[in-house]
C-alpha cells in the first residue's frame, strides 16, 4: 500500500480545513493521542506543512444494502505546522508504544504517540519525510520499503498474517462449510451411493407402519365391519381373511428383509470407503505440516498440534460420512412422515405441532450451551496434553532441579479442569435430554386422549390412530437427531477451523506460483535491506545488507543474541524477511523452488535435532539413498567415524529421544556429517564446532577446508581461529552489520570490534602459551 493518496473520507476532512489534498506527499495512520488514549490519527505532510488530524473512524452500513460499507471520519482535532519548524524525523520505540519525534539543532520534540504495531509504518513515514525535506545524510539509501497492507478492507481489522490477505473475522462459518464441502466434493460418488442407500431404507421405513398397523387393524382385523357387509362367512371359512393376513405379513417381511439388506450393503460400502477418505484427509494435513515453516512450530505448542490432527480429522470425516447422509435421510423421513400425518388427520397433526417448537427451542438452547462447553473442554484437554509432552521432553531438567512435585501439581490442576468440564458436559446432557424426552411423552399422552375421543366420535378408526401414533414417534426421532447434528456440526466446524489453520499455515513460506528451478546453484548471495522480527515490533535483524560471492567463505562474528543465527536462518529460508529481500544467484529467494533450495543448502544449526532412529539414518537424512560407504565417508570427514564405531551398535546405535545419549560435540559431528553427505552448494555452519575440543575442531577444519572448495560457506564462530579461511568477515551487532571486510582490512580498523576481539583472543592464547 502506497500511502500517498489520502482515502476519500479523510481527504474530505483535510479539504474542509483548507488543505489542498492533491499536494499531500505522504500520510500515515496512528492510533493514539499523546496522552495515550485511543483515537484515530492521520499524520501527513505536503511541501509546506505537517498535519495531524485526530478523530474517530467509523464504518457504517450503506442504507438499503447489507454488504456495502462506507467509512466516515469524525474529526475532533487538527494541527497544522510549517515543515520548516521540524527537523529530522525519527522514531523512538518504547516498550509498548512508539513515538515520532523531530530533531532540529539538538532540540527534540515529540510529535505523535502510537501503539507498538505502528512502529514500522512510522519509520517508513519518517524516512519519506526526511528524504523529502532533505534532512537525511545518507541520501543514496535506495528505495524505502512500503508498509505492507495489513488491514482488512471490510472490517478494518489487522490481518493476522501479512502474507495472506485473509481476514479470519470476515470469513464466516459459511465459508468454512463451503471449503469443507469442496474438500469432500471429490468423494461425491461415494457420498451419493450412501445417500441412495439411506434414501431407499428411509422410504421403506416410512411405508412400513402403514402396512403393519393401519392395514392389519382396519382391513384385516376389522371384524364388526366385515360382519356388517356380510363377509362373516368368509371369516368363518377363513379363506379370504387368511389370504389377506398372509399377504400383509409377506409384504411386511419383504420390506424388513429389503431394508435390512440395504443396511448391510450400506455398512459394507461405508466400511470400504471411510478408510480411504481418512487416509486422504490425513495425508492432506500431514502434507501441509511438512511444508510449514519453522515459525509455525516455534509459535504453536506441539501438544495442541498433535491432538488437533488426529481428533479433528476424525471429527470432520465422521460428520461428512455419517452426519451428512443421516441429516439427509432424517429430513426426508421428517417431511415424508409429516405429509402422511397431515393426510391422515390434520387436526391431530396440528396438536403434535404445538410441542414441536418447544422441543426445537430446547434443542437450540442445548446446542448453544454445549458448543461453549465443548470448546472449553477442548482447550483444557489440549493444554493438558502440551504440558504432558513438555514434561516428557524436559524430564531431565525437571529432575535436576527437583521440580517433580510442582510439575505434578501443575498437571493435576489442569487435569482437574478437564475432569470438571467433562463432568459439566455430562451433567448438562443428562439433565436436558430427559427433559426433552418428557415433553415428547406428554405430547403422546395428550395425543392418545384426543385421538381416543375422535375414535369414539367416529372421526377416526382405531387402526389409523395406532398408525398415527407410530408416525408421531417417527417424527420425533429425527428431531433428536437434528439436535445432535447441530452439536455435531458445531464440533465439526470447530475442528475444520483448526485443520484449515494447519493447511493454510503453509503460506508461512509460500512457494512462488512459478518457482525458478535451479538445478545447480552457484551460491551468490545478496542480502538487501532486510528487516526481520520474530515478534511484532521487535526487529532482530534491521536494515541489513551484505554480499557473499559464489565459492567464497563468509565468517560471521558477534555477541550472543546479535542475530547471527537469525541471519543464516533467513539465508536458508527457514523464515522470510519482513522487509527487504535476499537474492541467490540473482533470484529472489522467495521465487526459487523450495525443493532446490533445500537440496542445495546444507545447514548445521546451533541447536541440533537428532531424529529417533539409527546414527546412519540420521546421517543420510537428507539423502536417504546414500550408500553405507558414503555414510562412513561423511562421518569420517566430520571426525565422527571414530567415536561412532566405539559404540557397541556402531552406526546402528539408536539416537534421538530415548536413545543413546550423545555429547554436544558428538551431536555436532553427526550433524556435520549430515551436511557433508548432502553435498550442498552452500554450506552454513552455525557455531558448528563450538562444543568440540580444540584438537577435534582443528581436524574438522582441515577436512572441511577440502569440502569448502568451490562452495559458498557461511560460518558463525566465536573462536576467530575457526574463521581463519574466511574470505570476508562480517561483525554483527544488534541485528546490523557494523564491520565488513577481509581480515586484513578489519584488523587495521582502530577501535574496531573485530580488532578488539582478535587481540583479546590472541592475548588469551599467548597467556596459556599456545600463541605464536
Amino acid at each position: 500500500m502506497k500511502n500517498t493518496k489520502l482515502p476519500d473520507h479523510i481527504a474530505v476532512c483535510f479539504r474542509a480545513r483548507g488543505v489542498d489534498t492533491s499536494k499531500i506527499v505522504r500520510y500515515v495512520k496512528g492510533d493514539m493521542d499523546r496522552q495515550g488514549r485511543y483515537v484515530d490519527q492521520i499524520l501527513a505532510f505536503d511541501d509546506k506543512n505537517f498535519y495531524i488530524l485526530s478523530g474517530t473512524e467509523r464504518v457504517e452500513q450503506v442504507k438499503g444494502s447489507k454488504a456495502r460499507l462506507h467509512v466516515l471520519f469524525d474529526a475532533s482535532d487538527f494541527v497544522e505546522r510549517p515543515i520548516t519548524e521540524l527537523g529530522h524525523l525519527d522514531t523512538d520505540q518504547m516498550v509498548a508504544t512508539v513515538r515520532l519525534y523531530s530533531e532540529k539543532e539538538g532540540r527534540l520534540e515529540e510529535l505523535a504517540l502510537a501503539s507498538i504495531g505502528r512502529t514500522n509504518a512510522f519509520e517508513i513515514f519518517a524516512k519519506h519525510f526526511n528524504r523529502f525535506t532533505d534532512n537525511v545524510e545518507e541520501k543514496e539509501e535506495g528505495p524505502i520499503a512500503e508498509e505492507p497492507d495489513l488491514f482488512c478492507d471490510k472490517c478494518g481489522m489487522r490481518y493476522p498474517d501479512p502474507n495472506r490477505k485473509v481476514c479470519p473475522k470476515c470469513i464466516s462459518r459459511m465459508s468454512i462449510t463451503v471449503r469443507l464441502v469442496k474438500l469432500f466434493f471429490k468423494y461425491w460418488p461415494q457420498l451419493l451411493m450412501i445417500v441412495v442407500f439411506l434414501g431407499l431404507t428411509t422410504l421403506l421405513n416410512v411405508v412400513s407402519p402403514y402396512l403393519s398397523t393401519a392395514l392389519i387393524y382396519d382391513k384385516v382385523l376389522a371384524i364388526p365391519e366385515r360382519v356388517q357387509i356380510g363377509e362373516v362367512d368368509t371369516l368363518y371359512f377363513g379363506i379370504d381373511l387368511y389370504r389377506e393376513v398372509l399377504l400383509v405379513i409377506l409384504g411386511l417381511l419383504c420390506v424388513r428383509i429389503i431394508s435390512h439388506g440395504l443396511l448391510i450393503l450400506r455398512s459394507r460400502y461405508i466400511a470400504g470407503v471411510v478408510p480411504r477418505v481418512v487416509y486422504d484427509m490425513k495425508m492432506l494435513i500431514f502434507g501441509s505440516m511438512q511444508r510449514l515453516g519453522v515459525g509455525f512450530y516455534t509459535s504453536k505448542q506441539t501438544g495442541s498440534l498433535m491432538t488437533r490432527v488426529n481428533g479433528d480429522a476424525n471429527n470432520v470425516y465422521h460428520f461428512f460420512l455419517d452426519g451428512i447422509p443421516y441429516l439427509f435421510t432424517s429430513s426426508f423421513t421428517f417431511i415424508g412422515v409429516l405429509v402422511i400425518m397431515f393426510s391422515i388427520s390434520w387436526k391431530l397433526t396440528l396438536l403434535v405441532f404445538v410441542s414441536i417448537p418447544i422441543i426445537v427451542l430446547g434443542y437450540w438452547l442445548v446446542m448453544m450451551f454445549f458448543r461453549r462447553l465443548y470448546h472449553a473442554n477442548w482447550v483444557y484437554a489440549s493444554r493438558m496434553h502440551s504440558l504432558l509432552s513438555d514434561a516428557l521432553y524436559g524430564q531431565r531438567v525437571i529432575k535436576a532441579f527437583t521440580q517433580e512435585d510442582s510439575e505434578t501439581e501443575r498437571f493435576s490442576e489442569y487435569s482437574t479442569r478437564v475432569f470438571n468440564s467433562s463432568t459439566k458436559i455430562g451433567v448438562a446432557q443428562n439433565t436436558v435430554y430427559p427433559l426433552i424426552g418428557l415433553i415428547m411423552r406428554l405430547t403422546s399422552v395428550v395425543l392418545l386422549g384426543a385421538g381416543s375421543i375422535m375414535v369414539i366420535q367416529g372421526e377416526l378408526s382405531l387402526g389409523i390412530l395406532m398408525t398415527f401414533s407410530v408416525y408421531m414417534n417417527m417424527l420425533f426421532e429425527p428431531l433428536g437427531f437434528f439436535s445432535n447434528v447441530a452439536n455435531w456440526w458445531a464440533v465439526c466446524v470447530d475442528s475444520a477451523q483448526r485443520i484449515f489453520e494447519i493447511i493454510d499455515a503453509e503460506t508461512d513460506l509460500p512457494e512462488a506460483d512459478n518457482p525458478v528451478r535451479l538445478d545447480k546453484i552457484r551460491g551468490d548471495f545478496e542480502v538487501r535491506e532486510v528487516m526481520f522480527e520474530y515478534e511484532p515490533g521487535r526487529p532482530v535483524v534491521r536494515n541489513m545488507s551484505l554480499q557473499v560471492k559464489a565459492g567464497q567463505m563468509l565468517g560471521i562474528v558477534g555477541k550472543t543474541g546479535a542475530g547471527k543465527s537469525t541471519l543464516v536462518n533467513l539465508l536458508a529460508r527457514l523464515y522470510d524477511p519482513n522487509e527487504g529481500s535476499i537474492y541467490l544467484d540473482g533470484h529472489n529467494l522467495k521465487d526459487i523452488a523450495t525443493e532446490d533450495l533445500r537440496k542445495n543448502i546444507g545447514i548445521v544449526s546451533q541447536d541440533i535435532y537428532l531424529f529417533i532412529g539409527s546414527i546412519a539414518d540420521n546421517i543420510r537424512y537428507a539423502r536417504p539413498d546414500a550408500t553405507m560407504d558414503e555414510v562412513i565417508a561423511a562421518a569420517k570427514t566430520a571426525c565422527a567415524h571414530d567415536f561412532i564405531v566405539k559404540f557397541p551398535d556402531g552406526y546402528e546405535t539408536r539416537v534421538g529421544a530415548g536413545g543413546q545419549g550423545l555429547s554436544g560435540g558428538e551431536r555436532q559431528r553427526i550433524s556435520i556429517a549430515r551436511a557433508v553427505i548432502q553435498n550442498p552448494s552452500i554450506l552454513i555452519l552455525d557455531e558448528a564446532t563450538a562444543a568440540m575440543d580444540t584438537e577435534t575442531e582443528r581436524n574438522i577444519q582441515n577436512s572441511l577446508a577440502e569440502l569448502q572448495k568451490g562452495r559458498t560457506t557461511i560460518a558463525i564462530a566465536h573462536r576467530l581461529s575457526t574463521l581463519r579461511d574466511a574470505d570476508v568477515l562480517a561483525v554483527i551487532d544488534k541485528g546490523r552489520v557494523v564491520e565488513y571486510g577481509t581480515h586484513a582490512e578489519l584488523i587495521q580498523k582502530e577501535d574496531g570490534t573485530y580488532r578488539r576481539l582478535y587481540t583479546l583472543q590472541m592475548e588469551a592464547l599467548k597467556f596459556i602459551g599456545i600463541g605464536q
Binding site: Y38, I116, Q301, R372, V379, P536, R538
Partner: protein, 173 residues
Amino acid sequence: MEQKISLINLSGIKYLDPEKAHFYLKNDQFLCLDYDGETYENIKLHRSIPFKLPDDFISVQDMDSKEIFLIRSLYQFTPEQANLLGQQLHKRYFSPSISRIYSVKQKMGYLYFEVETSAGRKVFALNDVTRNLRRIDDGARIVIIDVDGNRYIIEDVARMLPKDFRRIEPYLL
C-alpha cells in the same frame, strides 16, 4: 547472606543513590538525569519485573540501551520525582486495563476481542492463546498480548462481571 552480597559486587550492578539523583524533563517529553555532577540526556527506563514489581528494579539506560544505573525502588524518591518516573514508565509500558469484555470470538485459530479499556474501546486479535494470554500474580491478573505486540491488562479477574468472565474463562489456565 554474605554470599549474596558478594554476588552483587561481582555482577557490577550500580544501584542509583536517590540522594544524588535529579530527574527532569527536557523539551517536554525527554527524560534527563543529573547524577553526581554528570548529566545523562535522553535516558530510558525499563522495568525488570514489569508485572509483579512494576515499581522496583527499574533499569536506567542511555541512548544506546546500555544500563547506567539500577533503581532499587521508586519509593526511595521524593513524591515529585517518583511521580515523574512513574509517568514515564506508564507511557513506555502503555498497557490499558480492560474494564469490560464485550465479545470474544474464535475464528480460524485467532481470538478476537472487543473490549473497553482505560484508554477507550478497542478491538484486537490474538494468535496462540497459550503464549499471549498469561495469568500472573497467582492468576488474579491477566496480561493479553495482541498480534501487534500491544499489551492489555485485566487487573483482577475476581472483580470482572460474571458474564465477561465467562467469555474468557475457557482460555485461562
